[in-house]
C-alpha cells in the first residue's frame, strides 16, 4: 500500500509545475541561423554546381579512357609475345 502511495505521489509531482522559459535571445538566435542558412545557399550557386558536376564527369571519363587504353595495349602486347613464342618454338 505504501509503495502504491509513493507511486501516486510520483505521478502528482508534475501537477502544477511551472512552465520553463527559453532564452530571451531566442528570436535573435533563430534569425541569425536563418540568415546564415540563406548565405550558405547563395555561396553555392547553380552555375557552380553544374560546373563542378561537369569537371567530375570529365575526370571520370579520362580515367575510364585511360584504363581502357592501357587494357588494349596490354592485350596487344600479349598477342605479339604469343606469336613470338610460337615463332621461337617453331624454330
Amino acid at each position: 500500500m505504501e509503495r502504491q502511495d509513493h507511486i501516486g505521489e510520483i505521478f502528482e509531482s508534475i501537477k502544477g509545475m511551472q512552465k520553463a522559459v527559453p532564452s530571451p535571445f531566442l528570436f535573435e538566435q533563430i534569425t541569425q541561423r536563418i540568415s546564415k542558412g540563406e548565405k550558405m545557399q547563395l555561396k553555392i550557386s547553380p552555375f557552380m554546381k553544374w560546373g563542378l558536376a561537369a569537371v567530375v564527369l570529365i575526370i571520370l571519363s579520362l580515367n575510364v579512357l585511360s584504363v581502357a587504353k592501357s587494357n588494349t595495349i596490354a592485350s596487344e602486347e600479349n598477342i605479339v609475345s604469343y606469336f613470338n613464342t610460337i615463332k621461337t618454338y617453331n624454330y
Binding site: 509503495r3 509513493h6 502528482e12
Partner: protein, 184 residues
C-alpha cells in the same frame, strides 16, 4: 506580404508559441541545452514552411506536430549513437531485474520538494515507446485535451485515450521495479 510585415508576424508566432515548444522539447529531450537548440530548429522549420501551411489544422497543432517529430528524430539519433558506444549491462544477471537508477533530469519548472519524484517519473517516461511517450507528455504535461492530442498525432480521441492508459500502466510497472530494487 512585405518583408517588414512578414518579419513581424513571424516574431508574433515565435513569441506566442515559444514556451509551448520549449517545454514540449524539454519533456522529450530531458536536457535544457538540447531543448533550446531544438526550439530554434522548430521555428526555423516554421519560417521556411509558413508559405506552404494550408491552415488545415490550427497553427498551434501544426507547430506541436513539428516539435514532436523533431524531438523524436533527435531521440532516435541519440539512441543510435549510444548503440555504437559502450553499452552497460542493464540487467542484473542473477535476478533478471531491470537495473533502474534514478535519472538525473531536473525539470526547471518542478518545485524543489517534488524534484526527486519528478526525476524518477521522467526517467520512466524516457523508457516508454514513442507513441505512448508522446500521448502522455502532450496530455499530462502539456495539458492538451485528448482531442487536441489526437489532432497532433493524427489519431482519434479514443486511440489517444488508449495510449495514455497504456502509458500510465507502463510507467507504474517501471516505477514498481524501481522500488523493488530499492527494497521498499
Amino acid at each position: 506580404m512585405s518583408e517588414a510585415s512578414s518579419d513581424i508576424s513571424f516574431k508574433e508566432i515565435v513569441d506566442t508559441h515559444k514556451i509551448r515548444v520549449f517545454n514540449t522539447a524539454i519533456s522529450f529531450l530531458q536536457n535544457k541545452e538540447d531543448a533550446e537548440d531544438l526550439t530554434q530548429e522548430v521555428f526555423i522549420e516554421v519560417y521556411h514552411s509558413l508559405q506552404r501551411f494550408k491552415g488545415e489544422s490550427s497553427i498551434s497543432t501544426w507547430i506541436y506536430r513539428i516539435t514532436v517529430n523533431k524531438s523524436l528524430d533527435f531521440l532516435r539519433k541519440k539512441n543510435a549513437r549510444k548503440r555504437f558506444g559502450f553499452i552497460t549491462n542493464l540487467f542484473n544477471k542473477e535476478s533478471g531485474e531491470v537495473n533502474f537508477d534514478s535519472g538525473h533530469f531536473d525539470h526547471p519548472g518542478i518545485l524543489l520538494e517534488r524534484k526527486e519524484n519528478a526525476r524518477m517519473l521522467f526517467e520512466a517516461i524516457e523508457r516508454l515507446p514513442e507513441n505512448q511517450k508522446t500521448a502522455f507528455i502532450l496530455f499530462h504535461i502539456e495539458e492538451l485535451s485528448q482531442k487536441e492530442v489526437g489532432e497532433v498525432m493524427s489519431l482519434s480521441p479514443k486511440a489517444v485515450e488508449s495510449l495514455i492508459q497504456r502509458a500510465k500502466t507502463g510507467l507504474r510497472v517501471k516505477l514498481e521495479s524501481f522500488y523493488k530494487k530499492r527494497g521498499i
